[in-house]
Structure formats: structure tokens, C-alpha cells
């Protein structure tokens, strides 16, 4: 591998300068990597802080000390506090972190494989498909005999979300569709499913309509130990595969032909990335309804902070998504005193200004 070094044609003085220059570049690069690791640790710490803040917030405010004590040694706090922390706020707070992490990671992968910064589970129809699935379950009351009705809504939402990604996948495979076409198909799916949801709403009863509207707002209120565990398991299973593909995803950013010529099977990479996206997005949406902008804003913040080396971008997206969602969950409890707003409303209210800020404030003015 030193075929290049020993042929540097220069006087010994120049060679020494070149070696020094090389060392300086490597040192600077290593500093940058250390900074990125530090940024990931910082994001992790902020997530923990936001998580504690989320548990503190509510009709009866707890102190940070009480929350930490209540979580680490439940016997050390009063019965009432223990119940509030463990039974009421912990599932919500965990669900917020997990949903944020899952949607943001899904968005980051989608943006990489579709080469489009606007791609996210929300903008490409996954969430809309889930809404339609949930709407069918709620309004038509379809239910398998051995499943509680609440699970049926989630399962149906999951099925439709998974189906919509598979449909995208299928169309892409069918006639080697370009990436741009896939994005357009995704957008078309948003409109189709939104129209179908509207149709179901139009045809549904008053009671079902209310439930449906609430579902489509996106809310953490259905969080419980079971579905939090399911989402945690899905995230824990999928994330390592995402990280394992990080090197290939980064190389794909250099252009599809180039990446393929480097030996990457781009079709396969895309297929498995979309599979991961569909699992993450479908599971999240099935439990909390449609939550917009996290899948878009999380990866954008991560990219601005750390660039597009996906070994850092993917974990950073996961953390920024968790952080923003956790903060949104806190805000949803304090925005209107005494009322817990559906968190989906808050993410969009927070998400849009953040998004606009990111669009207009670009470091270096790069396009």
C-alpha cells in the first residue's frame, strides 16, 4: 500500500514537508472524529435530561431528585409519587424517546437511499397508510376474535404502513424505477391514503369519527408497558443493521454509479434499508398515530451538526429524534395548563419553525 508513498517525486525537503502536511491533516481529521463522538455523548446526555424533564412535568410537578430517586430506587419515594412516575409518566416518556428515535432513524435512512432531503416516513405516505389502516379498524370495527380491539387498530395500522413501503419497493423493482420516480410515487400515496381516510371519515359514525380524529393527531396516550416494550425491541433489533450499513450509505452519497462501481449492490442496500424503514415507521405509527416532521427534522439537525458520515449521522439522527420528541412531549403538557395536547400537534408546531430555520440558515451557504 506504499506504492504511492515511495513514488512521491520530490526533494527530501519537500518530502518532509509533505509528510508533515499529511500528519497535520490526519491530526485534524482525528480531532473532528473526537468532536463527533463528543457530540453524540452530549446528545445522549441531553436525551436523558429531556426524559427526566418529561417525567417531572405534569399536573403535579416532581423535582428532578424525586424523579431520579423514583426511577432508581422506587421504594425511596411516596406511594403516590411512585404510581405517578411508574404507571403514568414513564410509559409516555419512554414512548416519546422511542418513537422519536425510530422515526428519525427511519427518516435518515430514507433520505440516504432516495437521495432526497425531503424524504421521511411522513412525506412518503407511510404515516398516511397507517392512518387509513387504523381508520378501517376504528370505523368498521374489524377485529380478530382473540385480539383486544386496541391491538387491532395498531395491527391494522402496522399492516398498511408496511404495505405502503412494500408497494414503493415493488414499483421500484418492477421496472428499475429511478429514485425520483419513487419519491413521486410516495407523494402520490400520501394523497391517495389521505383521500381514503377522508372517505372513511365521511362515512363513519360520530363516535368513531371522534376516535379517528384523535388517532390521526398522534398521541402518546396509548403508551403502556406492552407497546413500549414492542417498540423498544423493534428498535434494538433494527438499529444495529442500520449502523452496519452506514459505510455503504455514505458511499452511496457519492453517486449511485460510483457506489456500484465500488462494489456496492445498491438494489440490495435499498431493499433492506426500506425494510428497516418500514418496520420502524410502521411500529411507531401503529402505537402513537401520525407524528409529522420528526423523521424530517431529526436527520436534518443531525446532518447540520455532524455531516454525512453515516457512522455518526445515523446514531445522531436517532438521538436528535428522541430529544425533539421528548421535548415535544413536555411542551404538550404545559402549553395549555391542565390539558395534555396530542403530541402530533406539538411536533408540527415546533417542527415547522425549526424546519424553516434550517432551510434559511445554512452554514456556508452551500446549496
Amino acid at each position: 500500500m506504499n506504492a504511492l508513498t515511495d513514488t512521491v517525486k520530490a526533494s527530501s525537503a519537500n518530502a518532509a514537508t509533505a509528510a508533515g502536511q499529511g500528519r497535520a491533516v490526519l491530526a485534524a481529521y482525528r480531532r473532528r472524529v473526537r468532536w463527533r463522538v463528543g457530540a453524540l455523548v452530549l446528545l445522549g446526555a441531553l436525551c436523558v435530561a429531556a426524559f427526566v424533564l418529561d417525567i417531572m412535568t405534569g399536573p403535579s410537578t416532581l423535582s428532578p431528585g424525586e424523579v431520579v430517586a423514583g426511577l432508581l430506587s422506587p421504594d425511596g419515594v411516596s406511594n403516590a409519587q411512585r404510581t405517578i412516575i411508574w404507571n403514568v409518566r414513564l410509559p409516555y416518556a419512554l414512548m416519546a424517546l422511542l418513537v422519536g428515535a425510530a422515526l428519525s432513524l427511519a427518516g435518515a435512512e430514507m433520505q440516504a437511499i432516495l437521495n432526497n432531503p425531503l424524504a421521511s416516513p411522513f412525506t412518503l405516505g407511510v404515516s398516511s397508510a397507517a392512518s387509513f389502516g387504523a381508520a378501517l379498524a376504528i370505523v368498521l370495527g374489524i377485529s380478530l376474535p382473540f385480539l383486544p380491539r386496541e391491538w387491532m387498530v395498531s395491527l391494522n395500522a402496522f399492516g398498511f404502513a408496511l404495505g405502503s413501503v412494500m408497494l414503493l419497493q415493488l414499483m421500484a423493482r418492477l421496472r428499475s424505477t429511478s429514485v425520483e420516480t419513487m419519491v413521486l410515487l410516495g407523494i402520490a400515496l400520501v394523497f391517495v391514503f389521505n383521500a381514503l381516510v377522508a372517505f372513511v371519515q365521511f362515512a363513519s359514525s360520530q363516535a368513531a369519527l371522534q376516535q379517528l380524529v384523535f388517532w390521526s393527531m398522534g398521541s402518546l396516550s396509548r403508551a403502556n408497558g406492552q407497546n413500549v416494550s414492542v417498540l423498544a425491541v423493534v428498535l434494538a433489533l433494527v438499529a444495529p443493521f442500520s449502523l452496519a450499513a452506514a459505510g455503504k450509505l455514505t458511499a452511496l452519497r457519492l453517486g449511485e454509479d460510483r457506489a456500484r462501481s465500488f462494489g456496492i449492490n445498491v438494489g440490495r442496500l435499498r431493499f433492506f434499508a426500506l425494510l428497516r424503514v418500514s418496520l420502524l415507521a410502521a411500529t411507531s405509527v401503529a402505537f402513537v398515530g401520525t407524528i409529522g416532521f420528526i423523521g424530517l427534522v431529526g436527520p436534518h439537525i443531525a446532518r447540520l451538526m455532524l455531516g454525512e458520515d453515516h457512522r455518526f449521522l445515523l446514531p445522531a439522527s436517532l438521538l436528535t429524534g428522541a430529544l425533539v420528541m421528548s421535548l415535544a412531549s413536555t411542551v404538550s403538557k404545559v402549553l395549555v395548563p391542565g390539558v395534555m395536547l396530542p403530541v402530533g400537534i406539538v411536533t408540527s408546531i415546533i417542527g415547522v419553525p425549526v424546519f424553516l430555520l434550517l432551510i434559511f440558515w445554512r452554514p456556508g451557504g452551500a446549496s
Binding site: Q21, G22, P117, D257, R260, S261, D309
Partner: protein
């Protein structure tokens, strides 16, 4: 297997490729391209140069024979091509938040490469490549901040770093100033000899092609229009026929060919 199939080098015979049902490159056969040689692929717009290059990199399906040192490549999976042949597309995508060094490192890490087992080896080698291409001072600049010419040099560094046995360069100097055109062609020429690598390069400037090539492949409407040394392939007759221009070919005082275009060829 053909008679040239077992010699060291790249043999291309009856090679055809295209999109869906439209044939773009039609049964191109070339004499053996030898290791260490620089070959220019020239021809007017839409002659099929890029399509031929992509197909030779295994990026699209093709028929015919392509053998490297006797190994048949047509019909092999992409991974087999990628081990031996690397293609440099005309451009790098816009709006990528990677710096120059990272982009070369990610090219090295895309799939495992021999002799680059440790993370340190990868980084050190990436810096060496940047030094060799002469852009080490750009190492920590973001790709988005670079000029078109600088991006082209980074693009070249990425493919050189892969150390292929066959390097396919699609218009590598189109955005470069005179000095950088010279230094890139000289570097490519040197590396071809050093690594005994076969370089096939798409060029528009016939004077550059004439000066740096061991052989010229002239393509017209997807078919081979002329092949040979620069003096054999670039003639007033082929230029009139393929490019539709009236040209003079003269030798300058130093012996290299100079192509001068005087007018459109008479129909």
C-alpha cells in the same frame, strides 16, 4: 475463448449494450488493451461513449466478451467487476455534507480492500492519495464549497484510491484549467505505468488525447469508427466522417500531433 483471451490485458470483442430495446453500443471489438497503457475514447456527442464505459464497468447488462488477463467478465456479478474495474462518472452529486478526506475514506470503506485492514491504514492511505493528486490542502473542505474543477479532482482521487486494474474515466478533465489538465493527464499516465493499470479515458480535446494516449478508440453512433495510435486514428478523413469537420493534423516541432479544425466538412 478467443486468441487474445489469455494474454495480460483487457480484451473486448463483439461488445454490445443499450437500454431496454435500444442498442447504444453495437458489437465493438478492439485489439488487446495492454496493461500500463492509456487509451482515449473519443467521438461526438451521443456516440455511446459513457454507455460503453458504464457497461465495461459492469453497471449495465451487455453481451459479447470482455476478458481481463483471461478472466471473462461479462455475465459475472457486479462484485466481480468491481474488484478489477472502477468507473469514474462525469460528476459528483451536489449538496453532500462530506469533506474531501471523508469522501475518499468512504470510497475506500465502501467494500473491503486488500491491504487496508485497519482504520489507521485507510486514513493514512486516503491522505497519500490526496497528496498524489495534489489536493491535500483541500482535505478538510466540504465538497459543497469546492469549485467544479476541484470537485473533479476529488472525484478522481476517490477512484484512484480504489486501485483498480482497469480505470474508466468519463471526461475527467472537462472542468479543469490548463495546468490541472496537464497534471491530471500526467498523473494518470504515471499511475498506469506504475501500477500496470489499464486506463480508458473519455476525452473531448483531441490534442490532449493525441499527446497522452497509447491508443485511440473512436466511436461513432455506437460503432467503432477508428482504432490505432493517435496518428493512425485521428486523421482528416476520420474527423470528417465522424465529427463532420474539416481538419488539419500537423506535427508540432516537438513531434506531437496538433489537430486544427478549419471548417465544417462538406456534406
Amino acid at each position: 475463448m478467443s486468441d487474445v483471451g489469455n494474454k495480460a490485458g483487457l480484451a473486448i470483442q463483439r461488445f454490445s449494450t443499450g437500454y431496454r430495446k435500444r442498442a447504444i453500443v453495437k458489437s465493438v471489438s478492439l485489439p488487446l488493451l495492454e496493461r500500463g497503457g492509456v487509451y482515449s475514447l473519443i467521438g461526438p456527442n451521443a456516440a455511446g461513449k459513457s454507455t460503453l464505459m458504464r457497461a465495461l464497468a459492469g453497471l449495465q447488462s451487455a453481451s459479447g466478451l470482455v476478458t481481463l488477463d483471461g478472466h471473462e467478465l461479462v455475465g459475472q456479478p457486479l462484485a466481480e467487476w468491481a474488484k478489477r474495474v472502477t468507473y469514474m462518472p462525469q460528476s459528483l452529486p451536489q449538496g453532500v455534507s462530506l469533506n474531501v478526506l471523508e469522501s475518499v475514506i468512504s470510497a475506500l470503506r465502501a467494500t473491503p480492500m486488500e491491504g487496508l485492514d485497519s482504520s489507521d491504514a485507510v486514513k493514512t492511505y486516503a491522505v497519500e492519495v490526496l497528496q498524489r493528486v495534489g489536493i491535500v490542502e483541500l482535505a478538510l473542505r466540504n465538497l459543497g464549497e469546492l469549485s467544479g474543477g476541484q470537485r473533479q479532482l476529488v472525484s478522481l482521487a476517490q477512484v484512484l484510491a480504489r486501485r483498480p486494474q482497469v480505470l474508466l474515466l468519463d471526461e475527467p478533465i472537462s472542468a479543469l484549467d490548463l495546468k490541472h489538465q496537464l497534471s491530471v493527464m500526467r498523473l494518470v499516465h504515471e499511475l498506469a505505468r506504475e501500477r500496470s493499470m489499464i486506463v480508458l479515458v473519455v476525452l473531448h480535446d483531441l490534442n490532449v488525447a493525441a499527446r497522452w494516449s497509447d491508443g485511440i478508440v473512436m466511436l461513432s453512433h455506437g460503432e467503432l469508427a477508428a482504432y490505432g495510435t493517435p496518428a493512425e486514428a485521428i486523421t482528416p478523413a476520420t474527423l470528417a466522417q465522424v465529427y463532420g469537420v474539416k481538419a488539419r493534423i500537423e506535427q508540432c516541432a516537438r513531434g506531437t500531433l496538433q489537430v486544427m479544425i478549419d471548417d465544417l466538412a462538406e456534406a
